[in-house]
Structure formats: structure tokens, C-alpha cells
């Protein structure tokens, strides 16, 4: 383990700050400390570096557009000159990887191949291989030795990285934030000039340009370290140190964006929100500086560290409950680097943007500028993830291209897009087939799981499967919120509302950004008939997931149930401004129009809903209610044929639809088709025998039937005269046996007397 050498009295500490710009020009964010941990210093230094451009040829460390790719393990370790490719001493896999990195990245470093392979370099190799093989303690051990020898910021960064990977966040943070000498303390034995061309992360930004200084070679065994590492300590200690700081001491976080990012990550993991905010800055500090912005591609083909920082800032904002700012951060991150999928994921699965907004945003990202070669693919794969209320052709096209042009027909994410499209069309069975396929390919696919569970919920014959799935998930992944969500949904299918609620709140506790659990939580109230609670719960959802119209729509639905028409209107209107292409929402708005007596308007809305739903055969059943609503509007407008057609449509979908049967009866009665009306009422009662209203309607119809005369409303099949003639014929033919017939009826008559 790292052993920090005791502070030595004789060493000279360079003054802090050692930054080229005057300290007065830096805005101070932290009042309590004389140090600003904020990133502004970095920005100013990068500006400085860019402006001066004299002593630093490649100020990558301060370039937020770069990634940490150039400092990746294999890059920063020197290569053995003319090392055979298939070295038996190394694992073939590692060998390959190394070669790739070296060949691709180190092309420009041919001139430095004459380096001898020193002790430090060998240890660097150990360190990196140990990291790759997850031998973190090994890596930390050797890495620590390297840092002690070299005081190379690059090596310190990798040591911090190693700590981070072993979850030793505070240790990593200290390493990154403590004063760090910018000059190498003591060269390791037999080390050749080690400030090689690979050292791009730390271009040694000290003002005096000591970077290229090569200290005299000393034997490690014989000489004590002339300049040891600066002591680690808290802020107070640092101030003490700073008081007699020398010119050549700085902090790693001030020297490199990557270090700052790593430090912020460490602080995040430790829950130090305020520190992390300070580390990252409230807003993107690079914004507006010369070479930052969405249009500028990053220099090395990796992911812009600026974007990563923005993303981390977004996560931080979420932790601080500043949703709007979080959204902006994520959008910025994604705009800065389209490859930053995590920001995309946060934006999309966190329902942060309204459907239109997200469509516009994702389409307008600078794919071409940032990744000229892969622009189309990135755009397509992102497009396929968006919500599918609108632009269905574009969505279909994107999916087709992904399948045919890119051969991703069996990729879970592409399959997910298909499943999502089907789910939006209420084709649960089809959707379920695809989600099953996805889960057969990969056991866990985060976006698919809620969809899969929802399908299981909707398809009643699969409830036992849901039970199995929930059990399996809880067994395998008790730490994952989705497992408990599945349990909750199962209780929902079993109509055990309070149990379901318990599990949904457990899910939201585990992951507060998991939208389905919040909505389902509110659903339990709604289903139980606790409409006020439901409204509250839905409102919470609406606050948390500002991009989704669904919570607002559900609020509206609850208000409709509660007959709060004004509030319902408000909620539905708000939902509609967020998403004007959800058929369900149109249906609800139609219902409101109906309640306001605007039947014409309601008809338009219901028709729109059906059109938007792109009703297909297999999804039709889900829209039966809308057809009923439509029919009822027609009925109110006395357009009976249309109303009849509408109700008949419902009955085609569900021959035992009580409401439609009853309403169809009413329509028949209105059309003076008493007989048909009575038949329909009968059918209705055969499904629901104790429906009071239908019974009353039936009695009314029967009474009307009484007044209509002996043969009911429809009369005899033929004319009266014709009938009389036939009746006489009948009498003649069957005169004799008629008396004796009785059959079963005859005997009944006697009994009935």
C-alpha cells in the first residue's frame, strides 16, 4: 500500500497558486476557503495556454475537448523497442489490445522509440496490466512506487484511478486535491529521460517551464529523497503548506480536467454534493471559451471530458433536486458530445423532455461535426429510442435502416425500439413476443423490463408468468429496483392495492428516478378509488418527470371522476401542450368536451384519438371505450345511424360489452325499433343481470311495446288479409289433431288454469 513518506523539513515547496494567471482574476466561489476549488482556474489556464501557445505545444490536459484516451494505460507506458508482437510473457489477449493501442495511438511517437526500457516503465506496465486484470491492490502498490519516484502527474492520476476503482473514494480525492509538486522528485534508478511524448495529460504547466528539465540520475539505494510528496491533509494543513509553498507546487485538479472530473466523481460517490458542485462549477465553465461547443469535434476520437463533466453535473443537480438545471446539464452534455449516451439515457428514461422537445433536440444534435463517419448511425440509434407518439414513419424508417443497413436486427436495443412501437399501439401480445426475445438474448435490459412487465400485466393469461418473473428477479437481483417493481405489479394484477403500493414505494426509494414505479404507485390509489390521494401522487410524478404528459393526463382523469371539471380541463390542457399526439389524451379531452355539452367537438376529438391510435386489428379492443364514447356523442346529437354503427363496432370487438349493448338498445328505441331494442336489453341483462338502469329501460320498452298493438311494433310478417287466409287454411289442415295436440304446452295450460 501507499506509504506516504513523512514531510521533510528541507524541501522547498513551490508557491501556490502556481498558475500563470493572476489569482485576482479568478472568481471565487468558496468564501470559507482561501482556495477556490472551482474549475475557473482551469478555464483561465487553458485560455492562457491557448493564447500564449509558446511554451506548451500540446496543452491537452486542459483541453476539455479531449478525452482521457491519450493517457490510457498503454499509451502512457513506453513501448519496448522492437518488441516481438507475440510475446510469450504476456497474455495473448492483453497483447493484442496493447498492440492495437500502440499501433493506433502511438503512431506519432516513432521518434521516441529509442528509449531504453527503464524500471519505472516496467512498473507502469505492471500497473496497467494489473488494472486490466482487476488486481487493483497490485496496481495500487506498484503505482504508488512509481509516483514516489517520478512525481509524474500522469502516474498520480492513474493511482487515483486505481483507488477509485477499489471504491477508496476519499483516498483518491485526497491524492487529487492535495498539493502536488510539478517537478519530478527523484528519478528512479537508471531511468532515461522519462518525460516522453506520451505524457500528454500533463504538459507541465508550470510557469517556469521546468517540465523538460531532466534531473540528475541518482541511485535509489544511496540517496534519500530530496523532495518527497507533499503531505496529505485537510484544508487547514494545505493552507499551512501553501503558506510556504513554492512556485512549482500545484494541485492535480488544477492541472488537468481529467483529474478534476475524477475528483468530482469521488466526491459524488461520497455524497459530498457541495464539494462536488464546487469542483465542477455550477455551470459549464468552458462554455463560451474558444474551442468548446457542440460544433467542435473532440481531438482524439474519445468522449469529450467536458461532456462527461456536464453529465456529472447533471447527476449532481438531480441529487440536489434541481431538475431543470439537471435537464440543461444533460442536454449540454449530449450536445457537446453525441457519444455521451448516459446523458441521453438520463434525458429519455427520466422523461425530462416533452416528446416534441426531445425529437427536435435529438434530431438537431451535431452528429456530422462530431462524428463525421458514424453520424447517421448514432442519429438512428438515438431516434429509435425516442417516444413514438409522432413521426411514426421516421421511426419505422430508422428501425428499418438499423436492421438492414447496420445489421442490428437481433440487437436488444433495436428490438426494444420495435417493442416500444408496438406497445404504443397497444399491441401487447406482439410487444410481449419481442420483449421475451430481448430477455432471452440478454437477461437484463433496463429499458425493456418495464415494458415486459407491463405486457405481462395486460395479458391476463400471463399473470402466472409475471409471478415467476418477479420471484426470479427478487432472487437474483434483490438490489435492483426493477425486481421490486415486478413484485408490485404482480400484486396489482391480484388487486391487492396496498401490498402493491408497499412494493412500489420500495422501488421508488431504491431509485427515485424510476418513473414507472411512481406512476404505478399513483395507480394503486386510483384503482382503489382513493381519488384524492391519486391526484396527489400523480402530481408528484408530474413534478418529477417534467417531460411526460402522462401524470398530468392521469390527474385530469381523476378530476373527471371527481367531477372537478375545471381542474380536469386545466390538467388535460397542460398535458396537451406537452404532447398533442397521444390518443388516450384525446379521448379524455373528448370526454370533457362531452361533459361540457360540446358534442360536435367531442366527436372530432374521439375521431382524432382513433386516427392517432392507427387502430389495427389486434389493438382495436383497447379502443372499445373510445368507440362507445363516440357513439354516445352521436346519440346525443340524434345521429342514430352513426351512433348505431359505432356501438356495433364495439360489439364486434367485444360481443359482451354491457355498456355498448345497453346504449345500442337505447338507440334502437330512439329509432322506434322497439323489438330490436328489447332484444339488446335482453342481451345486456344476460351479461349483467342486475343492472338497474337496463331493467328500467327494458320495462319502458316493454310498456311501449304494449301500446304498440297485439303484434308488437313490427306487425305480422305478411298483411292482415294474407294472414287471415293462411290462418283459415291452417285451421282446415290441422283441425282434427289440434284439439288433441296439447303437446307439453297443452298440459301446462291445464295446470296454469
Amino acid at each position: 500500500m501507499t506509504s506516504t513518506p513523512p514531510p521533510h523539513g528541507s524541501f522547498s515547496v513551490p508557491p501556490v497558486p502556481s498558475l500563470p494567471s493572476p489569482s485576482s482574476s479568478r472568481p471565487r466561489h468558496s468564501i470559507g476557503s482561501s482556495f477556490s476549488l472551482g474549475p475557473q482556474s482551469l478555464v483561465s489556464s487553458i485560455t492562457e495556454a491557448n493564447l500564449s501557445g509558446t511554451s506548451h505545444v500540446r496543452p491537452f490536459a486542459l483541453d476539455p475537448n479531449s478525452s482521457i484516451l491519450p493517457t490510457s494505460p498503454f499509451c502512457s507506458s513506453p513501448r519496448l523497442p522492437r518488441r516481438p508482437k507475440a510475446s510469450t510473457s504476456r497474455h495473448p489477449l492483453a497483447n493484442d489490445t496493447t498492440d492495437i493501442f500502440q499501433d493506433s495511438v502511438m503512431e506519432g511517437d516513432e521518434d521516441e522509440e529509442e528509449y531504453e526500457f527503464g524500471m519505472v516503465d516496467r512498473m507502469r506496465l505492471w500497473r496497467h496490466d494489473a488494472l486490466m486484470q482487476h488486481l487493483y491492490d497490485t496496481a495500487a502498490f506498484w503505482g504508488d512506487k512509481i509516483v514516489s519516484w517520478t512525481n509524474d502527474p500522469n502516474d498520480a492520476f492513474w493511482l487515483a484511478q486505481t483507488y477509485f476503482l477499489t471504491h477508496q473514494y476519499s483516498r483518491a480525492e485526497r491524492l487529487l486535491t492535495r498539493p502536488f509538486p510539478t517537478t519530478p522528485a527523484k528519478p528512479p534508478p537508471a531511468v532515461m529521460p522519462f518525460v516522453n511524448g506520451n505524457n500528454v495529460l500533463f504538459p507541465t504547466v508550470d510557469a517556469k517551464g521546468k517540465g523538460k528539465e531532466v534531473p540528475p540520475a541518482l541511485h535509489p539505494m544511496t540517496s534519500a529523497p530530496s523532495q518527497s510528496r507533499l503531505p496529505l491533509g485537510g484544508a487547514a494543513e494545505m493552507i499551512n503548506v501553501a503558506s510556504d509553498a513554492q512556485d512549482n507546487v500545484s494541485r492535480l485538479v488544477d492541472m488537468s480536467v481529467a483529474c478534476r472530473y475524477l475528483a468530482a466523481q469521488c466526491q459524488m460517490r461520497q455524497g459530498k454534493w457541495a464539494d462536488a458542485t464546487e469542483m465542477l462549477g455550477e455551470a459549464n465553465p468552458f462554455r463560451g471559451s474558444g474551442n468548446s461547443g457542440p460544433a467542435i469535434p473532440n481531438v482524439d476520437g474519445g468522449i469529450k471530458i467536458e461532456a462527461s463533466m456536464c453529465h456529472l453535473r447533471g447527476l449532481l443537480m438531480l441529487k440536489l433536486n434541481r431538475g431543470d438545471q439537471a435537464k440543461n446539464c444533460f442536454m449540454e452534455a449530449l450536445a457537446l458530445d453525441v457519444k455521451c449516451y448516459e446523458s441521453f439515457e438520463q434525458l429519455i428514461s427520466g422523461e425530462m423532455m416533452t416528446p416534441n422537445e426531445e425529437w427536435e433536440f435529438v434530431q438537431s444534435l451535431q452528429y456530422k461535426q462530431q462524428t463525421p463517419a458514424d453520424a447517421e448511425f448514432v442519429r438512428l440509434i438515438y431516434t429509435s429510442r425516442l417516444r413514438k407518439y409522432k413521426h411514426s414513419e421516421e421511426h419505422a424508417l430508422a428501425r428499418r435502416k438499423l436492421v438492414h443497413d447496420y445489421g442490428l436486427g437481433d440487437n436488444p436495443d433495436v428490438l426494444y425500439s420495435f417493442a416500444d412501437a408496438l406497445y404504443t399501439q397497444f399491441r401487447w401480445a406482439d410487444c410481449f413476443t419481442i420483449t421475451s426475445r430481448i430477455l432471452a438474448l440478454v437477461e437484463i435490459h433496463a429499458p425493456t423490463m418495464p415494458l415486459h412487465i407491463a405486457c405481462l400485466y395486460h395479458l391476463s393469461h400471463l399473470h402466472s408468468k409475471l409471478f415467476m418473473l418477479a420471484h426470479e428477479l427478487v432472487d437474483k437481483e434483490p438490489e435492483s429496483p426493477i425486481s421490486w417493481y415486478a413484485v408490485g405489479v404482480w400484486y396489482l394484477t391480484a388487486k391487492k392495492w396496498s401490498d402493491a403500493r408497499t412494493y412500489f414505494s420500495k422501488t421508488s426509494l431504491m431509485d427515485p428516478r424510476f418513473a414507472p414505479a411512481w406512476i404505478a404507485f399513483a395507480h394503486t390509489f386510483a384503482l382503489e378509488g382513493e381519488h384524492d390521494h391519486a391526484v396527489t401522487a400523480y402530481s408528484t410524478c408530474a413534478r418529477m418527470f417534467t417531460g411526460s404528459h402522462l401524470p398530468l393526463m392521469f390527474v385530469g382523469m381523476e378530476h373527471i371522476v371527481l367531477s372537478n371539471h375545471v381542474l380536469a380541463d386545466e390538467a388535460l390542457f397542460a398535458a396537451n401542450t406537452m404532447c398533442d399526439s397521444d390518443p388516450l389524451l384525446k379521448n379524455e379531452m373528448g370526454v370533457m368536451a362531452y361533459y361540457h355539452g360540446n358534442y360536435e367537438e367531442a366527436i372530432v376529438l374521439f375521431r382524432e384519438a382513433l386516427k392517432l391510435a392507427q387502430v389495427t386489428q389486434s389493438s382495436e379492443a383497447a379502443w372499445a371505450t373510445t368507440y362507445v364514447n363516440l357513439g354516445t356523442c352521436y346519440r346525443k346529437l340524434k345521429k342514430y345511424p352513426e351512433a348505431k354503427a359505432s356501438y356495433e363496432k364495439v360489439l364486434q370487438l367485444d360481443p359482451r360489452h354491457v355498456t355498448a349493448l345497453g346504449f345500442l338498445g337505447i338507440v334502437y328505441q330512439m329509432m322506434d325499433k322497439l323489438d330490436a331494442a328489447i332484444v339488446k336489453y335482453h342481451e345486456c341483462l344476460s351479461v349483467d343481470p342486475i343492472n338497474g338502469q337496463i331493467l328500467e329501460l327494458l320495462n319502458l320498452a316493454l310498456e311501449a311495446n304494449t301500446y304498440a298493438g297485439p303484434q308488437g311494433a313490427k306487425g305480422l310478417p305478411m298483411g292482415d288479409d294474407e294472414w287471415a287466409k293462411k290462418m283459415r287454411e291452417h285451421r282446415k289442415r290441422s283441425a282434427a289433431p289440434e284439439r288433441s295436440v296439447g303437446s307439453q304446452n297443452g298440459e301446462d295450460e291445464m295446470n296454469l288454469g
Binding site: 386489428q617 389486434s618 379492443a621 360489439l651 364486434q652 370487438l653 367485444d654 360481443p655 359482451r656 328489447i678 344476460s686 351479461v687 343481470p689 320495462n699 316493454l702 310498456e703 311495446n705 304494449t706 298493438g709 297485439p710 303484434q711 308488437g712 313490427k714 305480422l716 310478417p717 294472414w723 287471415a724 293462411k726 290462418m727 283459415r728 291452417h730 285451421r731 290441422s734 283441425a735 289433431p737 289440434e738 284439439r739 288433441s740 295436440v741 296439447g742 303437446s743 307439453q744 304446452n745 298440459e747 301446462d748 295450460e749 295446470n751 296454469l752
Partner: protein, 616 residues
């Protein structure tokens, strides 16, 4: 009407039908076809020598059996059709699947052959889910048929199980609910294969989309006419005789075709409404040239006779059937109905004992036994057997109806209504169930409902006096004498002229309306009938008193007639003697007064007298 003569083509077609139906698990249709085949004289059945029609079923021939049927059917079509019913212009032509389709189907069937075998075997063993599983990957229409049909059977089985679970509870719906039907329908939505079209029609009719079901059925018949199952289905889709006559020209076959004729008779039988014409058709079908030995057609004929109330002949026909095939159980219930109506207890007992030994698990036999107990007034036992019959076959219409009757017997109107309702749900064409419903509701004093059901029964059977009468009584109970009178008058038209009950009721209604002349007219009729039948004065004394009183006091004016009537009553020993004597005195006084008045104002009085007589 030129009847189509049974020739080799029909023989081949029947033979194919036997095989095709049984290969698809349509047991009843297969049985029907083989019975019919057997009824053709053996000489005709032997394979033809000219080689034009090859032997069906032999594996060497390249043609598929469907092709045979198609050729035969086409042959029937091309023959000059001398039917008396013109074909409708929109009737689908007889159109067997095209040769390409058939060739492809044959090839697919050959590929699927082994799967089809296992599927059929599993289906025969009622392992439907397994059959579905093993037929899953088959492409041929036949395999698809077996698969979808198995799915249907499996879901039906499940639905019925669910239904019986809630038996005797309020939650039990009238029909078992099969939630799979719509998805099954989706599976065969776009098919063109006649067998799959049959399934489509079946599912459509089950979700009460009757028009579409009929359309599919017609298309299926056009593709394969000799599948009797589709004809039965079509017959179930028809609501009344008029629809039938509208449908016949739409059939892809000429109306003289034996299939159409059989369909017609069968349908009218199920409508309870066959006529002499159908009897004639039966006789034609039983002609030497056609199906002389067909028990099925004979049985059909017996049913026609039964519905025509010609019980003697019907019984004779049934006896003939059992002479030929003593173990035939089909239609035994009809025979037992005849015996029941004839109150032939001994014969019914004998029959019941014979057949219960033969097979007690046939619904028809249960029904027979139920009838037997009913005739012995053991209603509880009868109910038990009818219930058993319905459990064996849920769609067994007459068992439901008879069960309703038995429940009425034991005054359990609610149970009766339940039973009748189930009967009506099985088949909306049975007037007896509707009539029973009316009676049960009348027992519950729910006259509006009763009236509605009577009207339904009347619509199905417009010439039934009893239903008109019941309807009249209903109106009377509801305090609507006008309608009551109308109904009773209608009943009167069809009634026996010597009938008196209706007349008396009409008289009473008219009397309550204050229309005495009308009332007196009906009473007079009663008197006339009584006198004509030579019955005793006592039987019509009340009518006599009424008529006399009418002529004396309510403006009739025919005092002589009144006097004659009252003299007769006064001299009798009826209850009305006192009234009669009293009236007689008054009449005599009135006559005297009138004579005096006549003397005073000659012809005028005579004129009045004439008018009074005319009115009377």
C-alpha cells in the same frame, strides 16, 4: 321439379366427404355422409368401369380428393338446371379452389403428412393442447384446420368447465363465455380454403355476427359442398322461414340439388314450421333414383310429420326406421314426444327401458326417460333426467324447453325461466321456449314481459291459436280490452268453429266495454254451437239469459227470440231457472206492450223490429 338423380359423381363425392370430414375430426358430418352413401343401392355404389372417375383414396392418382369433389360439383353445375327457384345474381358460383392452389395444398399436405397424423390422433384422444403444439409449424390448410379446430375445442372445453363451476349460482351467464373466439377468428380471417371458411363461419356465428357468418358459410359451400357441418351451421344462422326462402337462391347449388333440399327440410324442421311441400321433398329424396334407404332422410320425414301433427304416420315412419336399424338412437326423443302426446304410457315405458339399457349416456335417451317420468307425473325425476341431458349436450334445445315445462309443473317459475332462457339462447327459433317464458312470467304476474315473449312466439308461429289466446288474456290482465279483443278475434279465425271458450271471453270483454250487441252475438254463437252439438240446455243457459236480457233491456228488441230462449231455460233444471222465469215474465209483458204500441203506430214499429233483428 326435376330432381337430380344420384349418379357415380355423387357417390364419389360422398365417399370423399366421408374421408375428408373424418380426417378433419368432423365426426357428425362424416357419419352423415357415410349413412347417406350407404343408402344408395349397392349397384350404383360399385366403382364405375369406364375409368372416367378414378377410385378415390388410391394413392397412385395424382389428383387430390378435393379436386374430385370440385369436378363433381362442377359437373352438377353444368348440367341444365331446371329448378323452379331462379338463382340470385349475387349467389357465389360453385368455385372449388383453383388447380394451382390444390396442387400447392397437396404438396404442403404431403410435407405435413406425419404431423397431421399425430395431430389427428391427439385430437381423437381429446388432447387438444398437444395437437396444437405438434401442428404448430405446419403450413398446409388441412393442418391449419386441425390446429385451429383443436384450439376451438380446447377453449370451448375450458369455457364450459368454467361455466359449470358457477352452475346454480347467480353469476352463471346464460351461455358459456369463450373469450378466445375473437382471437381464433383472427387466425382464419383471410382464409380461402373451404374448411377454414367453415371455421370462420363458426366463429362468426358464435360472436353473433350472423350476416358475416352466412356469407362465409356460403363461400365455404361454394368451395366444398358436401361438408354437412357447414349446412348445419348455416341452418342455425337462419332465423325464420322467410330468411330461408331468401337464402335458397343465394346458395351456390341449384335448388333441386339434394343437398339444398335436405338443408331446406332440416332448417324448416328446426323452425318447427315444415309444410306439405317438405313432406313431398322427403318422399322425392327417398325415391329409388336417389337415396332410397337413407335412415337419416326417413327420420327427417318422421320429424316433418310430427311437426305437421300427423302423429300416426310419424310413428309408423319411426317404427320402420327401427325395423331397419334397431339401435339407432338419433331422434328417439321426437318419437318419445309423440308417445307422450298420445299418452301412450306403456309404449313409452318399454322404449325407455330398452334404450336406457342400450346407452344411458346419450342425451336423447335421457330426454326419453324424462318424458317417461313426466307422463307418470314424477316431475322431480323428470327434471333430473332433462338436466342430465342438457349436461351431456349443452345445446340440446328440447331438453331445456322440457325442463322448463317440468319446472312450471312444480310451480318453480324462476327455475323455469332459467331453463327457457337457456333454450332460447341455444336456438332463438323454438316457439315453445318463448311460449313457456311467457307463461312463466304470467305466473309471476309480469304481464308486460309475458306479452313480449308471447309476441315472439307468435312471430315464429303466427297460426297458433293458443298463443293468440294467451296474448289476449295477457292484454285483458293489463286492462287493455281493445287489444285483448283483437287478439282473441285472431285466435277465433284459426280456432275450431265449435270452440266456445274464446267466444265467451270475447262476449265478456264486449260486455265490459258496454257493447252489448257484440257480446250478445258471441253468446248467441255459443247457444248455436251448443244446440248443434246437442248438448244440454244447462251448458248454455247463461248465454241464453244474456241474449234474452239483451233483447229485452239493452236494445236488442227481438222479443220473440228472447221468449223462446227463456222458455227453454225456465223449463230446464239449470241454475238460471229463477232468472229465466223472471225474465220470461218481463218479456211477455214487453211483448204485450209492444203489440199495443204496434197497433198505435203501424209500420214504424215493424221497421224497428226489422232493425233489431238485423242487429241481432
Amino acid at each position: 321439379m326435376a330432381a337430380v338423380v344420384v349418379d357415380a359423381e355423387i357417390v364419389v363425392a360422398l365417399r370423399n366427404a366421408v374421408r375428408d370430414c373424418s380426417e378433419r375430426g368432423l365426426a357428425a358430418a362424416s357419419k352423415w355422409a357415410s349413412e347417406l352413401l350407404l343408402s344408395i343401392p349397392a349397384a350404383k355404389r360399385s366403382p364405375p368401369i369406364d375409368g372416367h372417375v378414378s377410385i378415390p383414396g388410391s394413392s397412385t392418382i395424382p389428383q387430390s380428393p378435393e379436386q374430385f369433389a370440385a369436378q363433381n360439383a362442377a359437373g352438377n353445375m353444368t348440367r341444365p338446371c331446371t329448378s323452379n327457384v331462379p338463382r340470385h345474381e349475387h349467389a357465389p358460383p360453385l368455385r372449388p379452389p383453383s388447380p394451382q392452389t390444390q396442387a400447392r395444398e397437396a404438396q404442403l399436405q404431403a410435407e405435413d403428412a406425419d404431423s397431421i397424423t399425430i395431430g389427428k390422433a391427439l385430437m381423437d384422444n381429446k388432447e387438444y393442447s398437444r395437437a396444437i403444439h405438434w401442428l404448430k409449424n405446419c403450413k398446409s390448410a388441412k393442418a391449419t384446420f386441425l390446429r385451429v379446430y383443436s384450439m376451438h375445442k380446447a377453449s370451448e372445453k375450458k369455457a364450459i368447465k368454467e361455466w359449470y363451476k358457477v352452475d346454480n349460482t347467480k353469476q352463471q351467464p346464460i351461455l358459456p363465455v369463450n373469450p378466445e373466439l375473437l382471437s381464433l377468428l383472427q387466425l382464419v380471417r383471410n382464409s380461402t380454403d373451404p374448411w377454414l371458411l367453415f371455421l370462420k363461419a363458426l366463429f362468426l356465428s358464435r360472436v353473433s355476427r350472423r350476416e358475416e357468418a352466412i356469407e362465409s358459410a356460403l363461400l365455404s359451400i361454394a368451395g366444398y359442398p358436401w361438408n354437412w357441418a357447414i349446412w348445419i351451421l348455416l341452418s342455425e344462422c337462419i332465423d325464420d322461414g322467410e330468411e330461408l326462402s331468401a337464402l335458397v337462391p343465394l346458395l351456390p347449388l341449384p335448388s333441386a340439388h339434394p343437398l339444398v333440399q335436405m338443408f331446406q327440410i332440416k332448417t324448416l324442421n328446426s323452425l318447427n314450421n315444415p309444410s306439405e311441400n317438405e313432406l313431398g321433398l322427403c318422399d322425392k329424396l327417398l325415391h329409388e333414383d336417389r337415396f332410397p334407404g337413407s335412415l337419416w332422410i326417413m327420420s327427417l320425414r318422421a320429424c316433418v310429420l310430427y311437426h305437421l301433427h300427423d302423429f300416426g304416420q310419424a310413428e309408423a315412419q319411426f317404427k320402420k326406421i327401427w325395423e331397419i336399424d334397431p339401435y339407432r338412437i338419433d331422434d328417439i326423443d321426437i318419437y318419445s314426444n309423440i308417445l307422450y302426446v298420445a299418452e301412450n304410457k306403456i309404449q313409452l315405458s318399454k322404449l325407455a327401458h330398452e334404450f336406457i339399457a342400450l346407452d344411458k349416456d346419450r342425451p336423447e335417451v335421457c330426454c326419453l326417460v324424462g318424458n317417461h317420468y313426466s307422463l307418470h307425473a314424477e316431475h322431480e325425476k323428470a327434471i333430473k333426467y332433462f338436466k342430465r341431458a342438457t349436461q351431456l349436450d349443452r345445446t340440446y334445445l328440447s331438453a331445456w324447453t322440457l325442463m322448463g315445462h317440468e319446472y312450471v309443473e312444480v310451480k318453480n317459475s324462476h327455475a323455469a325461466i332459467e331453463a327457457y332462457r337457456k333454450a332460447v339462447e341455444v336456438n332463438r327459433k323454438d316457439y315453445r321456449a318463448w311460449y313457456g317464458l311467457g307463461q312463466a312470467y304470467e305466473l309471476l304476474s309480469m304481464h308486460q314481459y309475458a306479452l313480449y315473449y308471447y309476441q315472439h312466439a307468435t312471430a315464429l308461429r303466427p297460426y297458433d291459436v293458443r298463443i293468440w289466446q294467451a296474448q289476449g288474456l295477457c292484454y285483458e290482465e293489463m286492462g287493455r280490452p281493445r287489444e285483448a279483443i283483437e287478439c282473441l278475434k285472431r285466435a277465433l279465425i284459426g280456432a275450431d268453429p265449435s270452440e266456445t271458450t274464446i267466444h265467451m271471453r270475447l262476449a265478456k270483454l264486449y260486455h265490459e266495454q258496454g257493447e252489448y250487441a257484440e257480446a250478445a252475438g258471441y253468446h248467441q254463437h255459443n247457444i248455436d254451437v251448443g244446440r248443434a252439438a246437442g248438448s244440454h240446455v244447462n251448458d248454455y243457459a247463461r248465454s241464453s239469459v244474456y241474449v234474452a236480457r239483451y233483447h229485452l233491456l239493452q236494445g236488442g228488441g227481438d222479443l220473440e227470440l228472447a221468449k223462446d230462449l227463456m222458455e227453454e231455460v225456465a223449463s230446464s233444471n239449470s241454475e238460471e231457472v229463477a232468472q229465466g222465469t223472471d225474465l220470461l215474465k218481463k218479456i211477455k209483458v214487453a211483448i204485450v206492450a209492444k203489440q199495443q204500441h204496434e197497433v198505435a203506430s203501424g209500420g214504424q214499429a215493424r221497421g224497428e223490429h226489422m232493425a233489431g233483428q238485423a242487429q241481432g
